[in-house]
Each structure stands twice: as C-alpha cells, then as structure tokens.
C-alpha cells in the first residue's frame, strides 16, 4: 500500500496547529510558542477586542432615551398589577345570589326540556318546545300506540322494510325522532316497540346499508296504521349513522 502524504492544509495557507488557534480564540493574543504565521492573526483579533471608539459610543443618548421611555417601574410589577382584575361581583352576597340564580336557571331549563320530551306540556308550549329544542310535537302525544313494530322504532333505520311490513300501528303512533336516536341510533325510551315478532327482511339484527340511507319521516300524518311506515320493528339502529331525521312540525 503506497504511503501517500495526507494534505493537512490547503495550498497557500500556513500550517497552524489547533492548540495555537484555540489559544488565539480564547485569549485573542499571540500564545507563546505559536507559529509566527499566527502573529498577524493575533493582531487582528486584538484589534477586534480593542477599546471603544467614539463612534461606537455615539448612540448612548438614544439608548438611554429608550430606557427612560420604558418607564422606571419594573416590568414585573406592571404585570402583577395587570393581573389583578376587578372581580365581576365584588361582594360575597352578590356572588352567592348570582350563583343561586344561575343554578335555578339551569334547573328550570332542564325541567322544561324534560317536560317537553315527556310531552306533558300544554299544546302551545309543546309546539314551542318542538320548534326550539326538537321535542315531540304537540299533536303527537306520547308514543303509546299498541303497535309493537311501528310505533316505537325510532331508530335510524326507521325506513326499513319492517315499517311497511305487516306490523300494525296506529295513526298516532308515529315514529318520532328523538334526540337520543339522532345520536345513538338506538330506539328511544319512548319507543315502546319490542322487536317485531314477525320476521321481516330486516329482522336479522344487522341493518343493511341500503336501509340506512333514508330519512325517517316524522310527519304526523304519516301514521298510516303501519307504524307510520317508519318503523322496522326490530329496534335496531343504523351502524352507518348517516341518516338525519328531519323533524317537521
């Protein structure tokens, strides 16, 4: 194997050892025992660390002005003062009263919603609740229809073939969209439907995708004796969950 000389420096550059360079950087002066080629470099570095010239101190007035304008109050104190905000209710009694009023309001809204969904409100109020929060309409009444298949199956699969099947229903026992069924796709508690005893194509318990696309009709006049044509009678929700009930007054 040939013993080739390894180039340690570029052409034209003086050979300098790393310790010498490190010493130059650390002390910015010519270290004893360093290569003479480094002496001019040491002079340059010494010039870099020389005392300030007049032009380098010319901007002092502007810097002091900026310092003065920032204010003599330390920033931390300013920040602490900014953090101390006036409370919304300065007196404890007012705070308690506000808390009680807030709790009462929350309870009232909850009670109203509960009453609306159980349809025990007077008809005008029920209609209002239907319009505002999607509660069952005033004309519908509680889903007490005897139909085991049609009246209560309010899941997302409400347009399944089971709805048009032989399961009977009452005109008043429409499938009502309920908030819970929107979310879970499961039969709502108001739905008194048990799984249909008569097997329909959808009774297998596994909703098919073709059944799940339709929107459950919630129109009261849809009560056609077969559960409004909406229930599939098996109470199974749609796994796909992309049908959106369109409540109509």
């Amino acid at each position: 194997m040939p013993n080739l000389p390894w180039p340690t420096h570029r052409r034209g550059e003086p050979v300098t050892g790393d310790p010498s360079l490190a010493g130059l950087l650390a002390w910015a002066e010519f270290p004893a025992g360093s290569e003479p080629e480094l002496k001019p470099v040491a002079e340059v570095l010494a010039a870099l660390t020389a005392g300030p010239s007049d032009d380098e101190l010319a901007g002092e007035a502007a810097a002091l002005a900026a310092y003065r304008n920032r204010g003599s109050v330390p920033r931390a104190a300013t920040r602490a003062r900014r953090r101390r905000r006036r409370p919304l209710f300065p007196f404890p009694s007012v705070r308690v009263a506000a808390a009680v009023a807030g709790a009462a309001a929350v309870l009232s809204v909850g009670a109203f919603a509960t009453a609306a969904y159980t349809q025990v409100l007077p008809a005008p109020v029920q209609r209002l609740a239907h319009a505002i929060i999607g509660a069952p309409g005033a004309g519908g009444g509680p889903a007490t229809g005897p139909s085991p298949a049609g009246s209560g199956a309010t899941g997302r699969d409400a347009t399944g073939p089971g709805g048009t099947g032989p399961a009977g229903g009452t005109p008043t026992g429409q499938a009502q969209p309920s908030p819970t069924s929107h979310v879970t796709g499961q039969p709502t508690p108001q739905g008194s439907a048990e799984p249909s005893t008569e097997p329909t194509p959808s009774d297998s318990g596994t909703p098919t995708p073709t059944k799940s696309r339709g929107k459950p009709s919630t129109h009261p006049t849809n009560g056609n004796g077969n559960g409004g044509g909406n229930g599939n009678g098996n109470g199974n929700g749609n796994k796909n969950g992309d049908s959106t009930p369109t409540p109509q007054p």
Binding site: R10, L21, L25, A28, P40, L48, P52, R68, S72
Partner: protein, 184 residues
C-alpha cells in the same frame, strides 16, 4: 466585561438606574456593533439600535450572570440581524453608482495593514471578508467572549462544527494576511 460588580449593576439597571444601564450599554455596545458590522454590514447601526430596544423591553425579566447576559445580548443581536437581512431582501437594491462613495463598504488596503497597526475597523472589515459562518463564530468567540458551547447554541450548530468553523476562519485569515505580506 464588567466583572465582579455585574450583578449589582444589572440589579440597579432593572430597578431603573440610568447610570447602571449606561454602564451596561457602554460595555456591551462596542462589541455588539462590531459583531453587527460583520453579520449585517451597512445595517449594523440599525441592528444594534434594534437590539437595545429589545433588551430594554426584556431587561426586568432577565436573570443570569454576565456570561448569560452577553449570550442574551448577542442572541438578540443575531435575531435582529436576520430580520434586517430579510427586510433588505424584500427591498429592491439600487445600482451602486447611485450610492455616494463614502457609503460604499471598503476592504482594508493591504499596504495600510502592513505599515500601520491594524485598526478595529480594518480588523472588522477583514473578518467580514471571511465566509459568513466562520466570521460569525470568530466574532462571537473573540468579541463577545462566549465559549464554544454557548456559540454552538446561538448559531444552532454542534460545538465541534463551531470549533472547525473558527479554526478554518483563522487559517483563512492567516492566509489572507500572508498573501498581503503582513508580517508583524
């Protein structure tokens, strides 16, 4: 460097003492300006002024010794220099013949270097002629007085890379001076 009294000076400046702030400024501005002249060329004064504005705003929150103070000062200066370079790149550059001759950057004459002691301004101009990272690392090590690790954090490189850049820069500087026939 202020040295032993730095903590008291800093505390007084944070409390609002103009004299203390003046001392910090007089100690910090000359090296800051030299560094800015290398990394930001003709925008050095703007960079230095911007740096002090930021320092004044953050002075009350600063905690640390003199080494940390210097690191903060030069970190701020570096960011301001980067911002300045971005602003400059967005602005169209005018032709050189429209610039007054006094404002043109000039490299030191080799003959001047040979016959007289190297001035600070000439030294800065020499450094500015090196590749950017080499010049910056040398300035931060020598002028700012920061150690290799701090410089590495500041420029976002490894300590080894900083060492290599500094040594290469010094070698190149020695080569430039040797070619110019400068022997001191």
């Amino acid at each position: 460097m202020i040295g032993d009294g730095f903590a008291e000076v800093l505390a007084a400046a944070q409390e609002g003492s103009e004299a203390a702030f003046s001392r910090l400024w007089r100690d910090g501005n000359p090296p800051l300006l030299r560094y800015a002249r290398v990394v930001a060329a003709e925008g050095a004064e703007d960079v230095a002024a911007d740096t002090w504005l930021h320092v004044v705003r953050g002075l009350a929150d600063f905690r640390g010794d003199e080494r940390a103070w210097r690191a903060w000062l030069f970190t701020t200066a570096r960011r301001r220099a980067i911002d300045h370079a971005r602003r400059r790149s967005r602005r169209p550059a005018g032709p050189l013949d429209e610039v007054p001759p006094g404002l043109l950057p000039s490299a030191p004459d080799a003959a001047d270097l040979a016959i007289e002691r190297i001035s600070t301004r000439s030294a800065v101009a020499l450094l500015a002629g090196l590749p950017a990272i080499q010049a910056e690392v040398i300035m931060l090590r020598v002028v700012a007085g920061l150690d290799t690790e701090t410089v590495a954090q500041l420029v976002g490189r490894s300590p080894g890379a900083v060492r290599v850049a500094a040594h290469r820069g010094l070698r190149r500087l020695a080569g430039i001076l040797a070619e110019a026939g400068v022997t001191l």
